[in-house]
Symmetry: C2
Subunit: 234 residues, 2 copies
């Protein structure tokens, strides 16, 4: 990727960039999920032969992991990084921004869920979460475990949300998603799974984002219980 920049160029000039390829890949992923983003499809979209893609990325997996990195990099960190804010607000902001970014690209969620989280943006994110939890007053051991808990919850709930959708495409609006879940459960299953049906009905009274935040704050409550002297900052 880098070694061609500095040297004296010879031969043909590059006709496109890594970013243009990622743009094409993201469009296809948005439209139909990972399976819809074939190397051939990407190449067609940017107007080159399929094998030209291999000049920019070693293989398809590299395209996908670069795409995941870019999506993580586009998450808004403003409030999260602001150390003058109360820490609960900072965590909440990050959780919401991450969720929003993934909700904007539901087709990419399967990629994110199963990606190794070892790119620079992923590591930077983890680093900042640890920083924040240390700021909040946790010792380094608790901060490490708490950040794991936090990230697992955020990713898990996003995965659950996407999994309910029939097929990639775009995520229907919250109200429709809730109605759908309600419908699916209450139609014929209420007698077999009464509690689940009741739960769906209850949850339908709240918008899903509130449920997400409820879980987040219960989780933060739990983290605080181990370090009783952490100021709550609520």
């Amino acid at each position: 990727m880098l070694e061609s920049t500095g040297r004296g160029r010879r031969g043909r000039r590059r006709i496109l960039s890594e970013d243009e390829i990622l743009d094409a890949a993201l469009t296809l992923v948005d439209e139909g999920g990972p399976s819809a983003a074939s190397v051939r499809g990407i190449a067609a979209r940017v107007g080159v032969a399929p094998n030209a893609v291999y000049t920019y990325f070693p293989d398809k997996a590299a395209v996908f992991s670069a795409l995941v990195e870019r999506l993580l990099g586009d998450v808004n960190h403003d409030v999260f990084a602001d150390r003058t804010q109360p820490w609960r607000r900072r965590v909440e902001s990050l959780a919401l921004e991450l969720r929003q970014q993934l909700a904007a690209h539901p087709g990419a969620v399967p990629l994110l869920i199963s990606s190794p989280m070892n790119g620079p943006h992923a590591l930077a994110l983890n680093e900042r979460v640890l920083e924040l939890l240390t700021d909040a007053g946790l010792d380094s051991a608790d901060a490490a475990r708490a950040s794991y808990l936090l990230i697992a919850y955020v990713f898990g709930s996003i995965a659950l949300e996407i999994a309910g959708v029939d097929k990639p495409g775009s995520l229907p609006p919250e109200t429709e998603r809730i109605a759908g879940r309600h419908r699916a459960l209450s139609t014929a299953l209420a007698d077999r799974y009464p509690l689940s049906a009741a739960a769906a009905a209850t949850v339908a009274g709240y918008i899903s984002t509130e449920q997400y935040l409820w879980g987040l704050h219960r989780l933060l409550d739990g983290i605080i219980t181990t370090s009783p002297h952490v100021p709550d900052s609520r």
Copy 2:
């Protein structure tokens, strides 16, 4: 699937069963993840022509979702279902059994993560979690949100664990996985991501199961804070 059983049979007899196909699919998934379990590969493994599979399942997606259902059905519910046990122990047991089942089939985790959770076993599981939380003293609204939180955490942490592995195959033993994470972070990145490196070192002092349980119990602590009169049962 069912309609052929009751009628008078005519024509050729079935040469295999849905279960045999799922066995073959699971073997391939265990060996190389979802992408290694092709319809053609499954057919070859049970000794039929590729298209014979379509007599048993309408398409490949149906094979995968039946496989997910079976894996969920094989989770041990004994302690979890035992209402004489303290509720914390019951939740812990379920969380550990689920984790163990998925750790035994890491290649299947991507399937589980992105599956809609609408099969009978998935619903039954959700139903029992709600039952348990209600038993514990939560009202139905809190039980609904708490079960969502719980399930999101379990799935998310399992996803994170699997995502770190280079390629499907079998999950290396915990000690090796921890060492690997430690190595990956501390090698050259310690100066750029000091907190992450320190966190990896700290966590390496614990086995990963303990970290998982730590998160689970913090989460339960947090759930309790909303319903102050729930007996803790620890």
